[in-house]
């Protein structure tokens, strides 16, 4: 039979966790540190605002770019958080999460064959989004010794005449790595010299510990060369609402909006109402969740180091990315054996790129008792498998 799907799809590898889904199905008593979302429910004031809007009949489309009130409130938020000024009418777009924002960004800026530089390991959607836009992902290795930061020199070496953009995502999934302003400035330097755009996925920006959130677009001269992607899913525990945003100069936002209007029309109205409430009153509740993640982070990092899985200190997001080299297993073997023997689910580092080998991603967005039980099980596992 004639092949019915586009060859473009063949370039995108299948999900690295499919196999684990099948293994977990039907398994009782699994502690999952394999999720990438908060364990908290959305703060009630946010949910309640959305319920009220449904009761009042706010169930229609919004304007393509998103509710004007939400864009205005978002502009205020970006100003007070990062000192950045965006025109809510021409420089902000409400998207279906950062996932759609990323897709729109690469589709709006890439011509076929153009390259996008990104860190390895990195979030799984980065290379996929670029491939689906007929671009070429160029993955630059990052290393534990350097805190999984993207090095300005390595980026400079990866630039070719076909490079269009640099795609960064800090705080990072899967490593929990952050990039401080001076490190981001190195990337900005390359971008300026080579006239590249920077797509900065800052979905985890508020989830930082012992440091201030750093926004790439706030670096001198970078505002107009950055596509800032942000959202509500992680900091406000709103994953299922599907609301994110893009901030960039008018020409780029107009391009992204053009695609958005023909593919999504607008983002969910109830989600936008919820997001508006999150910006107006959600920050204290968000801070409580961030404080709790911080406590869990310290417990899991110490626990992993104590059991012999050396773990650098992640300063952002809600992931620890310990080395499992002491067991002599590959990261996929480790994840599979740990699940089968001790019923603890983690994600193998290679699901995020080949530089994830030797590591697993442990999400600590789960209760403290779960973290402690998982650590106990992992200690038993490591003890049993420690390579001599």
């Amino acid at each position: 039979m004639r092949k019915c799907t586009t060859g473009r799809l063949d370039k995108v590898p299948p999900s690295g966790i499919r196999k684990f889904f099948d293994l977990i199905a039907g398994m009782e008593g699994v502690i999952s540190m394999g999720v990438g979302e908060p364990d908290f429910s959305t703060p009630w004031n946010i949910t309640e605002a959305a319920i009220r809007s449904l009761e009042k009949g706010f169930t229609m489309y919004t304007s393509n770019a998103g509710m004007p009130e939400l864009r205005k409130e978002l502009a205020k938020y970006l100003k007070r958080t990062y000192g950045l000024e965006y025109d809510p009418n021409t420089e902000l777009l409400i998207t279906n999460g950062v996932s759609e924002g990323l897709d729109l960004a690469v589709r709006a800026i890439l011509d076929p064959g153009e390259e996008v530089i990104m860190p390895d390991p990195g979030y799984v959607a980065y290379p996929a989004a670029v491939l689906l836009a007929d671009g070429v992902p160029v993955q630059v290795p990052t290393h534990c010794e350097n805190g999984f930061r993207l090095s300005g020199n390595d980026v400079r070496d990866a630039v070719t005449s076909r490079t269009k953009a640099i795609l960064i995502g800090y705080p990072a999934n899967p490593t929990g790595a952050v990039m401080e302003m001076d490190k981001l400035a190195e990337i900005a330097d390359v971008a300026k010299k080579r006239q590249l755009l920077v797509i900065s996925d800052e979905i985890y920006s508020l989830l930082v510990y012992d440091m201030q959130p750093a926004c790439f677009a706030s670096l001198p001269g970078m505002r107009d060369h950055t596509i800032l992607l942000g959202g509500f899913s992680k900091a406000f525990a709103m994953t299922g609402w599907r609301i994110g945003y893009a901030a960039a100069r008018p020409e780029i936002i107009a391009g992204m909006t053009k695609i958005h209007q023909y593919t999504a029309l607008s983002s969910p109205t109830m989600g936008q109402v919820a997001a508006l409430e999150a910006l107006r009153s959600g920050e204290p509740e968000a801070q409580k969740m961030i404080d709790e993640y911080d406590r869990r982070r310290r417990v899991i990092v110490k626990g992993l180091n104590d059991i012999g899985l050396s773990c650098f200190e992640p300063k952002g997001a809600f992931y620890a990315f310990p080395s499992i080299k002491s067991t002599g297993m590959t990261s996929e073997e480790f994840a599979e054996n740990l699940l089968m023997e001790e019923k603890v689910a983690v994600v193998h580092g290679t699901a995020f790129g080949k530089c994830g080998e030797g590591h697993v991603r442990c999400c600590y967005a789960t209760s403290m008792p779960n973290i402690e039980e998982a650590l106990t099980r992992m200690a038993r596992f490591v003890q049993r498998h420690r390579s001599v």
Partner: protein, 160 residues
């Protein structure tokens, strides 16, 4: 640092100093010092356990009583409040703004016992101008804890 330690202990008093130290990112010695001082200063008043007595089949009767009072010269409401809170049946006393002055929570074996306490002990006190008794019918949330929580972890087991 103190605040961090207190926030952790307020949520779980059984944690060891070592565990608190890890969560707060400080040393065990620092935690011990802060706790010892706080106990001495009665910043940490007591370590308690929250028990859902309904589940144990406890049928004690709780009531919230609004007490309207005449403030006294020099001492305001404090002296009378003390006369009230010294009764062992009285579990909680707050001075509040609004249409009455003291919110008094008491517990007794039966409604009759609570009623007698109000009519024989509380209402006759000099300075008490009136009382309104509200019997508690159901506890939904106490001290920030929902007593009948619904909902397990509804997340998919793996998401990247």
């Amino acid at each position: 640092m103190m605040r961090k330690v207190f926030e952790i202990l307020e949520n779980d008093a059984r944690l060891t100093a070592e565990q608190v130290a890890t969560m707060a990112g400080v040393t065990e010695a620092e935690v011990k010092k802060v706790v010892a001082e706080a106990e001495k200063e009665r910043i940490i008043v007591k370590y308690k356990t929250m028990i859902n007595w309904e589940k144990v089949g406890d049928d004690r009767v709780w009531a919230m009583i609004e007490v309207k009072m005449q403030p006294q010269k020099d001492v305001g409401f404090d002296a009378l409040a003390e006369r009230i809170y010294r009764f062992p049946q009285v579990r909680t006393v707050y001075l509040v703004s609004g249409t009455y002055d003291l919110a008094v929570f008491i517990v007794g074996k039966t409604m009759q016992e609570v009623g007698l306490f109000v009519s024989q002990k509380l209402a006759p006190l000099e300075g008490v101008q009136g009382t309104v008794t509200h019997f508690l019918l159901k506890r939904y949330k106490e001290d920030g804890e929902v007593l009948h929580p619904g909902g397990d972890d509804r997340r998919l087991p793996l998401i990247i």
